[in-house]
Amino acid sequence: VQPERPPTDPEVERRWALVRDRYGDRLTAEELAQLRQVVEGLVGAVQEVRRVPLTNADAPLDGFAPLRRTS
C-alpha cells in the first residue's frame, strides 16, 4: 500500500505533466483525474524502489545473453 504523499510532490508534477501533455487531449476530465491517481501510485512505487541503496556492482537481473551463431 502506498504511503500518503503531499499533493504537490514535484516528482509527481513533473511526470504527470509528461503524461497529461501527451495524452490529455484523448481523455475526459474524469478520466484525467483517474489517470493522475495512477501516475501518483506509479511514482510512489518508483520512490519505494529508489529508497533501497544499491552499489555500483548491483547489476540488473536479466536474461540477456549474446546469440551464438547457428550456422
Binding site: R22, Q34, V38, L54, L67
Partner: protein, 466 residues
C-alpha cells in the same frame, strides 16, 4: 462415458483411457458438451474447438487401439487460455475486443507439446483482456464478460486466467493451461478451488504466447490435483530454441508416495498478517496439516519493496509490449473503462526507474535464496481474500491497493509456486494455500502439495451448477 469422468483427475482418466474403458472420442464429446452448455453461464469460453478436438480424439483412439500409447495425457481433453496461439483458423483473441479476429499460422510451443503428448484441445478459454496488464480494477474486463465463479455466480472467478480456473472447477475440462505474470494462475486457482502451478521462469516455453512482460510471464497448468499439475508440467516443460529463456533441463514428475518425505516449511508472517480473517483461519488450519509433513517455522522476509519493484518492471515492459495498441488509441475499444486510459500512466516510468527495479530484483532474488537455505518451502495464502463480488472494485497489489509479498517476490525471482484448496470461508467461497519453492524445485513443491492433498479432501469438493 459414465458421469464419473467429470471431476475425475487426469491420473485416473489416463488409467481408464489406457485400459480402453473410456474412449477418447466419448471423453471429448462429454467435455465439449459441458463447455457448450455450461461454459456460457460462467463466461469461461471464447472458442469451443470441436472440429480440432474430435480429429485429435479419433487419432488418439486409433493409436491407443493399435498399441501406440503415448503417456498419461493421451486422449485427455484440455483447455488453453486464449493467449496461446493456435493454427487452423482458430482465433486467439487475448481476451480483448480489438484482437477478437486475430489468428496465427502456428501453434504455440505449449499447444504443440500437448499435441505431441496426445492431449485433445477442446477450448480456448476466456481471460481478462491482455492478461490484465492494462490496470483493470473490476472483473468486467473481457469482451466475453466477467468470469463467473462456479461456487457462487455473484462472485468473480479471478484472473487473468479466468476461464482456466472456472472451467477446471466446473468440470468443463480436466485441466487447463494458464499464464501468470503476477497472480494470474494462483488467483483463479484460489478463487475457484482448484490446483494451479506457476512454474519457475524458464521452465516452460512462452513461444506463441501473448507477451505482457518478457521477464515475468510464465505458463502453467490448472487442474483438480497437484499430481495432475505435475503430469501436465512434464509434458510442457523443457528447452525450446524458439524461447531463449527456457532452461536446458527437462522436468520429470515424481509421482512416488511422498508421505515419508519431510519438508521444512516457513510461514511468511507478512502474508499471514495481510489476509482477511476467513482466509487466515483456513491457512492456519492448513499449516496444522503441514506439520504432519515436516517442520514449520515463521519466516519474516527481508524488508524490501517487493510489490513496488514488480509494479515498475511490469509497467515498463507492458508499456513496450503494447506500445502500438496504446499509442494508436485503440485501447478505447477495451471493455474495462479504466483499461482505456490507465496504460498512458506508464510514460511516467523512466528508463532509469526500470533498470533500477531490475537491479533491485537481483537483490530480492539473492535475499530470497538465503531464506531457502533454512526452509524448503514458503507458505502463504494464494490470495489474501476470497473471490470478490462481481460489479465491485477489488484490491490489487499491481495497483498498490493490496499487499502480496509472496506473489511479488515469487514472480520477481521467477520461483515456482502451487496453490491448492485449503477450505471455505463462512460464505462458502474457496480458500487456498500457496507453497512457494526455490528455483527449479517444482518436484519439492509438488511433493509437498501432494502430501497435503493426501491428508485433506478439499480438492474433492466440487460446485453444484444445477
Amino acid at each position: 462415458v459414465t458421469p464419473e469422468v467429470v471431476f475425475t483427475p487426469v491420473r485416473r482418466l489416463a488409467e481408464l483411457v489406457r485400459a480402453r474403458e473410456v474412449s477418447p472420442v466419448a471423453l471429448a464429446e462429454t467435455f465439449l458438451g459441458r463447455l457448450e452448455t455450461l461454459g456460457p453461464r460462467l463466461n469461461a469460453v471464447v472458442t469451443v474447438t470441436r472440429e480440432r478436438a474430435l480429429d485429435a480424439a479419433r487419432r488418439a483412439e486409433r493409436e491407443i487401439a493399435a498399441g501406440r500409447y503415448r503417456g498419461p495425457l493421451h486422449g485427455i481433453p484440455y483447455g488453453a487460455k486464449d493467449l496461446l496461439a493456435t493454427a487452423g483458423g482458430i482465433a486467439t483473441t487475448w481476451g480483448a475486443a480489438p484482437c477478437r479476429d486475430q489468428s496465427f499460422d502456428a501453434d504455440a510451443t505449449v499447444i504443440r507439446r500437448l499435441d505431441e503428448a496426445g492431449s485433445v484441445l477442446v477450448a480456448k478459454l476466456a481471460m481478462v483482456e491482455l492478461a490484465g496488464g492494462m490496470g483493470y480494477r473490476q472483473p468486467d474486463a473481457a469482451f466475453t464478460g466477467p468470469g463467473v465463479n462456479p461456487w457462487d455466480p455473484a462472485h468473480w472467478s479471478g484472473g487473468s486466467s479466468s476461464g482456466a480456473g472456472s472451467a477446471v472447477a466446473a468440470g468443463l475440462v480436466p485441466f487447463a493451461i494458464g499464464s501468470e505474470t503476477w497472480g494470474s494462475i494462483l488467483s483463479p486457482a484460489a478463487y475457484c478451488g482448484v490446483a494451479g502451478l506457476r512454474p519457475t521462469f524458464g521452465r516452460v516455453s512462452r513461444h506463441g504466447a501473448m507477451v505482457l512482460s518478457w521477464t515475468l510471464d510464465k505458463l502453467g497448468p490448472l487442474a483438480l490435483t497437484a499430481d495432475d499439475c505435475g503430469l501436465v508440467l512434464e509434458a510442457i516443460a523443457g528447452p525450446d530454441p524458439d524461447d531463449p529463456t527456457t532452461a536446458r533441463e527437462a522436468f520429470r514428475h515424481d509421482a512416488a508416495d511422498a508421505s515419508a518425505r519431510r519438508f521444512r516449511f516457513g510461514v511468511v508472517t507478512q502474508a499471514l498478517a495481510a489476509c482477511d480473517d476467513g482466509v487466515r483461519e483456513t491457512l492456519l488450519r492448513a499449516v496444522g496439516v503441514l506439520r504432519q509433513l515436516g517442520t514449520v517455522e515463521d519466516v519474516t522476509l527481508p524488508d524490501l519493496p517487493y510489490e513496488a519493484t514488480a509494479r515498475v518492471i511490469l509497467g515498463a515492459e507492458a508499456a513496450s509490449a503494447f506500445e502500438d495498441l496504446v499509442e494508436s488509441g485503440r485501447i478505447v475499444e477495451l471493455t474495462a473503462p479504466e483499461d482505456r486510459y490507465t496504460p498512458y500512466a506508464r510514460d511516467a516510468i523512466l528508463a532509469k526507474d526500470y533498470v533500477r527495479a531490475l537491479r533491485l530484483r537481483g537483490l530480492v532474488a539473492r535475499e530470497v535464496n538465503r531464506v531457502f537455505s533454512t526452509v524448503d518451502l514458503l507458505v502463504a495464502p494464494s490470495r489474501p481474500t476470497v473471490a470478490p463480488r462481481l460489479g465491485q472494485e477489488f484490491r490489487s497489489a499491481l495497483r498498490g491497493t493490496a499487499n502480496d509479498v509472496a506473489g511479488a517476490l515469487g514472480n520477481l525471482a521467477g520461483l515456482p509456486a502451487i496453490g491448492v484448496p485449503s477450505g471455505f470461508d463462512a460464505a462458502g467461497l474457496p480458500t487456498s494455500v500457496q507453497l512457494l519453492g526455490a528455483a527449479f524445485a517444482e518436484e519439492t513443491v509438488l511433493a509437498a502439495a501432494r502430501g497435503y492433498q493426501a491428508l485433506t479432501d478439499w480438492h474433492l469438493e466440487h460446485p453444484r451448477l444445477g
